[in-house]
Amino acid sequence: MIRASGLTRRFGGREAVRDVTFAVEPGEVVGFLGPNGAGKSTTMRLLLDLLRPHGGDAAVDGSVGYLPEQFAAYDALGVRSYLHFMARMKGVGTDDVPRVLEAAGVADLARRPVARLSKGQRQRVGMAQALLGRPAAYVLDEPTQGLDPKQVVDTRRLIRSLATDDGAAVLLSTHLLAEVAAMCDRVVVIVRGRIVAEDRTTDLPDLEAKFLRLVGESELA
């Protein structure tokens, strides 16, 4: 389970997130939606304990798989070597590496140096390292960014299966309403550092209308 309770974080005098409260249950995919600079990445970093909150608290039960928005690995390593390294650092067996290579669709890139991967390929390697050890929760920041259409479809299926087959709690941030409509059970909307809506996911036209109304109202407020 992923839980944020009254999270507040300031940078200098500016409040990046304020009183953010929501939860992601096991077996659930929750979309974290908001305009640029709304506080999505900051909230995710608070959940992962990469930042300390100035108020409230965050908790993730069990191990967590994290995919940052701009995933980077070590250029000098091959894909398989990198995943072996990450498996050792996470304390999971390197036996899991072939499974995650397959699941993330990068088995054919196993020997290739990270330096020679495209942006989309790097993103999938990032997804593979997040899958190591079958974590109980996932925090995925823009997981389909830079992927081609087929990879987008494959990644969406994979993320959906993490919740339905493995029972993991998945929080993913995205700019794409279609992504939320395709994958998520619920959506949490953040604007200017505050949660302005939390609802079950409906069809895309309805979601678009709701999101535009929320962002529009917030901008006018």
């Binding site: 304990d49 990469l50 300390r52 191990s63 980077a72 070590y74 250029d75 000098a76 996470k90």
Partner: protein, 232 residues
């Protein structure tokens, strides 16, 4: 976990041009300065090699350590590790070991100077062994200071400058030994003084303990700095 970090950091470091360039410049400068010393002294002695190598390592070591944490912080790979709840201690230890091993590999060819010297004279084995042991401990300390500096910044140049400054501070601490109050205390801090006793063939346990203490202190501070990134 520490072993995984050592292996990864050695691979990353030796895939870059840094150790090769540092090694080449180090031995070029050391060769010129050492031959100059031999000509001045008109004696085939090994002793001048160690302070010269020590000073050059002082300048070169920050280049070997500057990327250890700074680069991981800049690219975000450190975030991925910390999100996976990897503690700072094994990372710091692994990075220091990798940097130290690289430092040892960089200055190891200096043994060739001793071999060449044996053509013209018979250098005493004692000062040679003690001198190289001293340089190994000295490199351990410099890489400790470098890893600490790298843990404080996400900029490699800043990490290198901070490491150089700290190293110079410890190297020249004995300059103030004439000060009535702090002089004797500062003399104890001087890395140059510690290295000098090794070069004369004396292995004093207090010198060894001082180097070890500095390494432990710098690594403990680096671990605190890495954990403390979250507080920023």
């Amino acid at each position: 976990m520490t072993r995984a970090v050592v292996r990864k950091d050695l691979t990353v470091l030796w895939a870059s041009p840094i150790p090769y360039v540092v090694g080449a410049l180090f031995h070029l400068a050391l060769g010129l300065l050492y031959v100059d010393q031999l000509e001045v002294r008109r004696q085939a002695v090994v002793q001048p090699l160690f302070p010269l190598a020590g000073f050059l390592l002082l300048v070169m070591a920050p280049l070997l350590t500057m990327r250890s944490f700074a680069e991981e912080a800049r690219t975000g790979t450190l975030d991925v590790l910390q999100a996976a709840r990897v503690r700072a201690a094994p990372m710091v230890l692994g990075k220091w070991l990798a940097a130290w091993m690289t430092g040892l590999a960089v200055f190891a060819p200096a043994l060739l100077f001793v071999l060449l010297l044996s053509w013209w004279g018979e250098p005493d084995a004692g000062p040679v062994i003690a001198g190289f042991a001293g340089l190994a401990l000295f490199t351990a300390t410099l890489t400790g200071l470098g890893v600490l500096a790298s843990s404080l910044s996400s900029s490699q140049p800043v990490a290198a400058i901070v490491a150089l400054f700290l190293s110079l501070l410890f190297w020249f601490a004995d300059v103030a030994d004439q000060a009535p109050q702090a002089g004797s205390l500062l003399l104890r801090f001087s890395l140059r003084e510690r290295l000098r006793s090794f070069a004369s063939g004396v292995v004093d346990t207090s010198d060894v303990a001082w180097f070890v203490l500095l390494v432990v202190a710098t690594l403990a501070l680096a671990a605190q700095a890495v954990e403390g990134r979250r507080l920023r």
